[in-house]
């Protein structure tokens, strides 16, 4: 894969990468760091990608790993005061935004990949390397939790 093809494919994924990073990391700067590191790693290890059609899931997996790395690093240097939840974007009401961020990480990432990034459960299973059935059950639990959270808010 040459730089031109890599660039085109990454550009096409930018919105998805953002939503995934947003769901995983609180700080905007961390999201920028994560996506930068993920792109650099993907570029340097692109020879390991055996099938071009897996590029999307491959890059997203790397980004998720980067987010995990940043989270782990932050656990090792915990701030004295807990960070506030990020404010909802100005172009959307905050209830659903907050509810999604309150979901357990395993459910949240499934919601993001399915509803925000548009992946089928089989593709999410590839990305997360978990059985398809597990993805579906996490989505089901996540939807129920969202419903509960939103009802609770009212």
């Amino acid at each position: 894969m040459d730089k031109q093809e890599f660039t085109l494919r990454v550009r096409g994924l930018t919105d998805r990468l953002y939503r995934i990073a947003y769901g995983q990391l609180r700080e905007p700067q961390d999201r920028l760091d994560a996506v930068q590191n993920a792109l650099l790693k993907a570029w340097s290890s692109r020879h390991t990608l055996r099938r071009a059609e897996y590029f999307d899931t491959w890059l997203i997996r790397i980004l998720i790993n980067e987010c995990h790395d940043l989270q782990r690093a932050q656990k090792r240097t915990l701030p004295m005061d807990p960070l506030p939840e990020p404010p909802a974007p100005a172009d959307h009401t905050g209830e659903l935004h907050d509810a999604i961020l309150l979901l357990p990480e395993k459910q949240r990432i499934c919601i993001i990949l399915h509803y925000m990034a548009g992946y089928r459960t089989s593709e999410i299973a590839r990305i997360l390397r978990i059985p398809d059935e597990t993805v579906r059950s996490r989505l089901k639990r996540a939807r129920a939790a969202l419903k509960h959270l939103l009802t609770e808010d009212q």
Partner: protein, 355 residues
């Protein structure tokens, strides 16, 4: 709460993020790709490949199950296969238990579902759906199974997979567990729905003595003394701690314990595509027949992570026709792959006979 609400909950991608992506892309050096690690087809198909044994005369491909799984079993596998085990039918459907492979550790069963009026009811292998031709309504069949005795555990058959065969569909199901007795009793239920409810159920009761092999070859998997038992996969580091490997003439089984340098970010698939019986290489889709009996990651001591997996794989060990021939330790390799990324790691290991 609609799907659109969820899709837009995080708002638009900010310019700062787009700029960062563009900046990073701009700074990439357009260097040629490194040479990709190349594995032979055999290695791609196998997790632990014992390559030293030159193949001679294995057939058994007349068996539907082995053909479907694209397995070339050892010669002795013939004796582990039972055919035409049970049948039942009702007004609409005929349900046959045609073939079973039982090696004392695992069972794969093959069933055939045939509509009695194929010009009206057409069966599809897609999720074992019964398609009613007149209005093309989509009707699913559901299978459940139960073993009367505890030999195979209470879970019954699982991992149902289907394929078309003319007017019929063929269903494959598997069950693998600890070493078991030679007696199997089970009933398999086929539930289906015509265009109008209620569901209809066909129960296939089955009791039989299936022959199990006592010829189970067991090995301990150990890292080569002179090799660094080091596995790097997607920036995660693993080290082989212990493992075991066993095979019968029908299937192979493995257990692995790996030390992880850090908490595994997600379960990855050691076994694909081999324990998925290779079909995934053709369909690029995970198949339910792919087996990974147990996989877990756990923290044994603070900061020390382990990854454990137990699974089944196809019998990829070439046969010499000489059952006494043992795999050659120095040619064994532990190949690890990730389905999502198709990345493979291969490390040499020793297979030490357990007996």
């Amino acid at each position: 709460m609609t799907e659109h609400d969820i899709r837009t909950a995080f708002g638009e991608t900010p310019a700062a993020f787009r700029d960062q992506v563009e900046l990073t892309l701009t700074e990439l050096e357009d260097t040629p790709m490194k040479k990709r690690y190349k594995l032979s087809t055999m290695l791609l198909a196998a997790m632990i490949a014992v390559l030293a044994l030159a193949g001679a005369g294995i057939a058994a491909t007349q068996w539907k199950t082995f053909s479907f799984l694209q397995i070339t079993p050892l010669e002795g596998a013939d004796s582990l296969i039972s055919t035409n085990l049970a049948s039942t039918e009702d007004e609409y459907i005929r349900f046959d238990f045609e073939e079973a492979i039982f090696d004392g550790e695992g069972l794969i069963a093959q069933f055939r579902i045939t509509p009695k009026q194929p010009d009206i009811y057409n069966l599809s292998a897609d999720s074992c759906s019964l398609i009613f031709n007149e209005d093309n309504s989509y009707i699913s069949c559901f299978f459940t199974s139960n073993f009367e005795n505890s030999v195979l555990g209470a879970d019954g058959l699982d991992s149902w997979t289907f394929e078309s065969a003319g007017d019929s569909i063929i269903a494959y199901a598997s069950h693998f567990g600890p070493p078991i007795d030679t007696s199997i009793q089970m009933d398999v239920q086929l539930s289906y729905c015509m265009p109008e409810p209620p569901y209809r159920t066909l129960t296939l009761d089955f009791t039989a003595e299936l022959s199990a092999t006592t010829d189970l070859h067991r090995y301990t998997i150990a890292a080569e003394p002179d090799e660094q038992p080091h596995i790097s996969l997607d920036d995660q580091e693993f080290e082989l701690i212990e493992g075991s490997f066993a095979y019968t003439d029908a299937f192979g089984y493995y257990e692995l314990k790996l030390h992880c340098a850090d908490e595994p970010a997600a379960l990855f698939d050691f076994s694909d595509p081999i324990s998925g019986f290779e079909l995934s290489r053709h369909t690029n889709e995970p198949l339910s027949m792919r087996r990974s009996l147990t996989s877990q990651q756990y923290l044994e001591d603070e900061g020390v992570w382990f990854y454990y997996e137990k699974g089944i794989m196809q019998p990829f060990i070439p046969s010499t026709g000489d059952e006494a021939a043992a795999p050659v330790a120095e040619d064994a390799r532990l190949n690890i792959c990730s389905k999502a990324f198709d990345i493979f790691e291969s490390i040499p290991v020793q297979l030490i006979p357990a007996d």
